[in-house]
Structures are given as structure tokens and as C-alpha cells.
């Protein structure tokens, strides 16, 4: 079930044999945070770009 829901889940080496309670949570949190903040910043840039394009296209704006 988990494999069908998350096909890329195997990429995370979940090894219960040599892992403490905190380990994997921290690893996943670190990677998710790194990606999350970078993608959020990219989205912010996209919104900013769109706002500038709208300003330029305003009919009263002689650009």
C-alpha cells in the first residue's frame, strides 16, 4: 500500500535495524525543509514577475 502510494519512498533508506527514534524524522525534515524553502522562494519570484508584467500591461501605462 505504501509502495503504491509513494513510489519514490524507497529512495529514503529506512532501516529500522540501525536507526534511533529521532534519526529518520530529522533526515526527512531536513530534506523537506531545504526543498520547501527553495520552492517557496521560486514561487515568490514567479508571483513578483507576474505582478510586474501586470503593471506593464496596464492601459494607462505608456510602456
Amino acid at each position: 500500500m505504501i509502495k503504491s502510494m509513494f513510489p519514490l519512498a524507497d529512495l529514503f533508506p529506512w532501516d529500522r535495524q540501525n536507526e534511533s527514534v529521532l534519526g529518520h524524522h530529522h533526515l526527512i525534515a531536513a530534506y523537506c525543509f531545504a526543498w520547501g524553502i527553495q520552492l517557496a522562494y521560486l514561487a515568490y519570484l514567479g508571483l513578483k514577475w507576474r505582478a510586474l508584467v501586470r503593471v506593464e500591461r496596464q492601459p494607462s501605462n505608456p510602456r
Binding site: 525543509f33 527553495q38 510586474l52 510602456r63
Partner: protein, 244 residues
């Protein structure tokens, strides 16, 4: 601009490809014997700090060029200022990634989220300096804003070598230097591919995002310039806008 978009597309494909491969390598190299899988945080933590240093270095260069050329070559100065703001924002993002991933690693390795040792404290100060740089840019206006920001950036960069040297100058809880740390330093051979590929990957990502941010800033500058010219041509209309 005609070449900018295709170049950006190619760069995006390269960056995403490298990031995917870097992630794959980071997840498949053997786990560390002492830290187990938590050591894989290191593969994002180290590149984040390298990118932070490079971005703040580029911000310093942009700020110096802006100050040197603002009177004689205003067009070049504006481009330099756009580079400065783009790299400062990217640097702040990478610095935050470094701080948070380090804290998550520390909770596992040391049992604490944070300690006020010299490396961590100087890094937090570095992040706060560049956050204040961005806040100043956002909340101040007028012709002096860019000059003041450039001066702040030059002073702010002084903290970068302090952060790097902090583990040598003081006894810190943070591990010793990985690069140029003398005998005993360096990365274990099993970790090298993961660290190296992720450095390349995040470098490509940084170039991509800084390029986009640079384009946004240049567009903003052109809009501001047109507005300023328009208000000069019809000052009465500009006064009405200000009053309203």
C-alpha cells in the same frame, strides 16, 4: 532577452537533473557508521554553506561595483545592484537552510537543537545582517537606498570570514573545518560523491534562481525609471498621484 529565456530553460533542465541525481546519490551512498542515516543531512548542509558564501561574495562584488560606478556609469551600477539584491536573497535562503539542517543534525548528534557557541552564533548574526539588508531595501525609498544598502553589504560581509574561521579561533562544539582544515580534515571517501554532486547541483540551482531574480529586479528598475521619467514630463500629474 531573446537568448535569456532559452538559456534559462537549459539551465533549469541541467539544475533539476543534477538535483535529482544529487538526491539519488545522497540517499544511496553507505550510511555513516556512527551517525547512521542522519549523516545524510550533511549532503545538503555543506552545499548550503558553500552557496551561502558564494552568494554573499557575489553580493559584496555587486555592492562594490555599484558604489564605484554609480556616478560615472549608472547603467552598469544598476546592473550591479540587481546582482547584489539577487545574490543577497539567495544567500539568505541558503543560510536558513544551513541553520535549520544543522539544528536538525545537532538534535540527533548532540541532543540539543541549538547552542550559543561561536560558529552557530556568528552564523545567526550573519543571517540577521543580510535579513536586515533586505529589510532596508524593502522599506526604504529614495536615491540613497541603494548606496546605503551597498555600504551595509560591505560591512556585513566581514562576518563571512569570521564564521569560517570561528572553529579555528575558538573551541566550539561545532565540528572542525572540512575544507582546508589541515591534517585530519576532509570528507570520508564514501561521502565524497554525495557531497560533490550536491555541491554541483545546488550551484546550478543557485545560478538559475539568481538569474530569475536578476531579471525580476531589472524589470522593476525599468518600470521605476519609466515612472520617474513620466513624473518629470508631467509633474502636476505626479503631484496629484502623491496627494491622492
Amino acid at each position: 532577452m531573446k537568448l535569456f529565456r532559452p538559456a534559462l530553460g537549459i539551465l533549469a533542465i541541467v539544475a533539476l537533473g543534477l538535483l535529482a541525481y544529487g538526491f539519488h546519490v545522497a540517499m544511496t551512498v553507505p550510511a555513516d557508521e556512527a551517525m547512521y542515516n542522519v549523516q545524510r543531512i550533511f549532503y545538503y548542509h555543506i552545499p548550503a554553506w558553500i552557496m551561502t558564501s558564494l552568494c554573499f561574495g557575489a553580493n559584496l562584488i555587486g555592492s562594490v561595483v555599484y558604489l564605484a560606478t554609480r556616478n560615472k556609469r549608472p547603467s552598469l551600477a544598476l546592473r550591479a545592484d540587481a546582482v547584489a539584491v539577487a545574490t543577497a536573497e539567495m544567500g539568505v535562503v541558503f543560510c536558513l537552510v544551513g541553520l535549520v539542517t544543522g539544528s536538525l543534525w545537532a538534535r540527533y548528534a548532540w541532543g540539543i537543537w541549538w547552542t550559543w557557541d561561536e560558529r552557530l552564533t556568528s552564523t545567526l548574526i550573519l543571517w540577521l545582517i543580510y535579513v536586515s539588508y533586505l529589510l532596508m531595501r524593502n522599506f526604504s525609498a529614495g536615491p540613497q537606498m541603494r548606496t546605503l544598502s551597498a555600504v551595509l553589504a560591505i560591512f556585513g560581509y566581514i562576518d563571512v570570514p569570521i564564521v569560517y574561521m570561528s572553529t579555528r579561533w575558538w573551541r566550539t562544539q561545532h565540528p572542525g573545518p572540512v575544507f582546508f582544515g589541515g591534517p585530519g580534515s576532509g570528507i570520508a571517501p564514501s561521502m565524497k560523491p554525495a557531497v560533490t554532486w550536491n555541491i554541483y547541483a545546488w550551484m546550478a540551482w543557485a545560478v538559475l534562481i539568481v538569474s530569475i531574480r536578476y531579471a525580476v529586479e531589472r524589470r522593476q528598475q525599468k518600470i521605476d525609471e519609466t515612472d520617474a521619467l513620466r513624473s518629470l514630463e508631467s509633474p502636476s500629474a505626479a503631484q496629484v498621484e502623491v496627494v491622492s
